[in-house]
């Protein structure tokens, strides 16, 4: 709606405002086609390098009285280890899943925050392939530990809760299979992707729209453009909150699925 209003207002003096579209997300830097090295690929590699450097640098000389960096890393690690892994998976089995969950959390968090960090400003997770890759890891993990624990036949049998009336069991079974094998991974990947994609597009719209109105508009549009920047600022703060939240929810749900595969009833 407001997209069209801005566009039609601005197009009075030729050229016109180009509203940001989904094509903004495909940014090849080197080459083109399927093997192109794109901006998200570079940002992802940058994030991996940065995370590795940070984690090694802050824990290499670990001290009893921690430095600020060590304290920050330990708090983050403690949050994932105790707040997510132990509380959800339970104190018996959680320790071997902490590396997976911590890696996921930090990788998603840093890549999400890159969406608002100046100069980088690209949330990698807004390219659907990357959430799908992360989801595949979770998907294989929770099915693998479930099947390994009870065997393939029992795994499928265990999908349906015991003690149901016989006529409803086939319906429930189909529903459980669809939920376990399709809906769960689909929603896990799409939730992360959608939040990052929509947030980035929204920021892009307010910032480019505000810039266009201030540069090309009359006095009224200049005021509206300033308002657009206020909105962009407010939404950036909001976006940072969403970025934390999505990293947390992804890790939380991964832990929940793993906990489900480890317990007797899923």
């Amino acid at each position: 709606m407001s997209l069209n209003v801005l566009g039609s207002l601005a197009s009075a003096d030729g050229g016109g405002f180009q509203t940001p579209t989904t094509s903004e997300f495909y940014q090849p830097l080197l080459f083109d086609g399927p093997l192109a090295i794109t901006r998200p690929a570079v940002v992802l590699m940058l994030s991996v390098g940065l995370i590795a450097w940070w984690l090694i640098a802050t824990t290499k000389r670990a001290a009893i009285v921690p430095s600020k960096g060590q304290w920050a890393t330990e708090s983050l690690y403690g949050f994932v280890r105790n707040g997510v892994a132990r509380d959800i998976i339970g104190s018996k089995d959680f320790l071997r899943f902490v590396p997976l969950l911590f890696t996921m959390f930090v990788l998603i968090l840093v890549n999400n925050l890159f969406g608002v960090i100046p100069l980088i400003q690209y949330p990698t997770m807004s390219r659907i392939g990357i959430p799908i890759a992360l989801t595949l890891v979770v998907y294989v993990t929770y099915h693998y530990i479930g099947i390994k624990r009870v065997g393939l036949g029992q795994y499928f049998k265990g999908l349906v809760p015991a003690g149901l009336p016989g006529w409803i069991v086939p319906l429930i079974f189909v529903l459980e299979v669809i939920t376990f094998f399709i809906t769960r991974p689909l929603t896990l990947a799409l939730r992360l992707f959608g939040n990052m994609f929509a947030g980035h597009l929204l920021l892009l719209l307010f910032i480019t729209g505000g810039q266009y109105m201030i540069i090309n508009g009359g006095i009224g549009l200049k005021i509206a453009g300033a308002g657009s920047y206020v909105m962009a600022f407010a939404l950036t703060i909001f976006e940072i909150l969403i970025e934390f939240l999505q990293a947390y929810i992804f890790t939380l749900l991964a832990a929940t699925y793993i906990a489900g595969s480890l317990s007797d009833e899923h």
Partner: protein
């Protein structure tokens, strides 16, 4: 305020909370799955009432499953 190692049998205090997210998956799966089956039946038989029937049946099965899983005492 007792210091010391945390109780090893403390269990999964937040699992039930986080399982609320699974409920969403069930509530999506049911209507979509059975509505989809209804749509296929409608296409095949040329009728028009299987889609709403399927969606309602899907909602029923989803809610029933959520009730069985999370609403009853074990």
């Amino acid at each position: 305020m007792s210091e010391g190692p945390p109780d090893p049998d403390a269990g999964h205090p937040r699992l039930e909370e986080s399982q609320m997210w699974n409920v969403v998956s069930y509530l999506i799966s049911g209507p979509v799955l059975f509505g989809g089956i209804g749509w296929a039946l409608d296409r095949w038989l040329g009728t028009g009432f299987f889609v709403p029937t399927g969606i309602l049946a899907g909602m029923f099965v989803s809610l029933y499953l959520v009730w069985v899983r999370y609403g009853t005492q074990k």
